[in-house]
Amino acid sequence: MTTSSPIDFKVRVQAEDFEVSAETDILTKDRKDIGAIVTFTGLCRDEGGMLEALELEHYPGMAEAQISKFAQQAVERWPLSGLTIIHRYGKIPPGENIVLVSATSAHRRAAFEAADFLMDFLKTQAPFWKKEHLKDVSNGTWVEAKALDDADAARWTLPKSK
């Protein structure tokens, strides 16, 4: 219910790693109207030491377009001050970053909900596919989509009281 026009956001799809603090510094620089920063960082887990690396395939062009579409929905739905989304592709070893969503707002609920919403849609609607390369297996295995992730994304289409 904000009357100001939605803000610009930043979407990057890249092979290189990113620095979370550098990204949030850009969002807060020279601003004193931000009350809340919610940052989600998704990391590559080693699956109990079994994983050699995760390989992320993506659909160039469509990946950026889809993420931007959801980012646009987020800035229209919540009164955000800033929004940055970065998604990596390529081979990612355990412990490294995969994805970043950083949302700033005057109020905490907007920042929390926008980040949560975006992660649910990145999981289920952005054209990325994960292949697990295990240490003791020569062929990788494609990660299967989870029904739980679809259920999470469906939460946001329910009518909202706010």
């Binding site: 377009a65 289920t124 609607q125 990325f128 596919w129 989509a145």
Partner: protein, 83 residues
């Protein structure tokens, strides 16, 4: 028309992208999947469960009943697992 395949569809078809001349009998994305599946064993394996396959036309998600018209690029891929 350019066709693109991702993840295990790319692996099963052995193709990441190709250009095809769309036969007149193929009107929808669903019919395109059936037509591609009839090509060889790899394509048949790739499209053996068409219900699980996601489709994008010119980089927008569509369903299997989408009518191909003026389409430049069709992509087939498994359910997405990003994030």
């Amino acid at each position: 028309m350019k066709i693109r395949y991702f993840a295990w569809l790319r692996e099963r078809t052995g193709t990441s992208e190709e250009t095809i001349a769309l036969p007149e009998t193929v009107k929808t994305t669903g019919e395109l999947m059936s037509w591609l599946a009839a090509r060889d064993e790899g394509y048949a394996f790739a499209f053996e469960q068409p219900d699980t396959i996601r489709i994008a036309v010119d980089q927008e998600h569509v369903e299997a009943d989408y009518v191909l018209s003026g389409t430049e690029e069709v992509a087939f891929f498994p359910p997405m697992t990003g994030g």
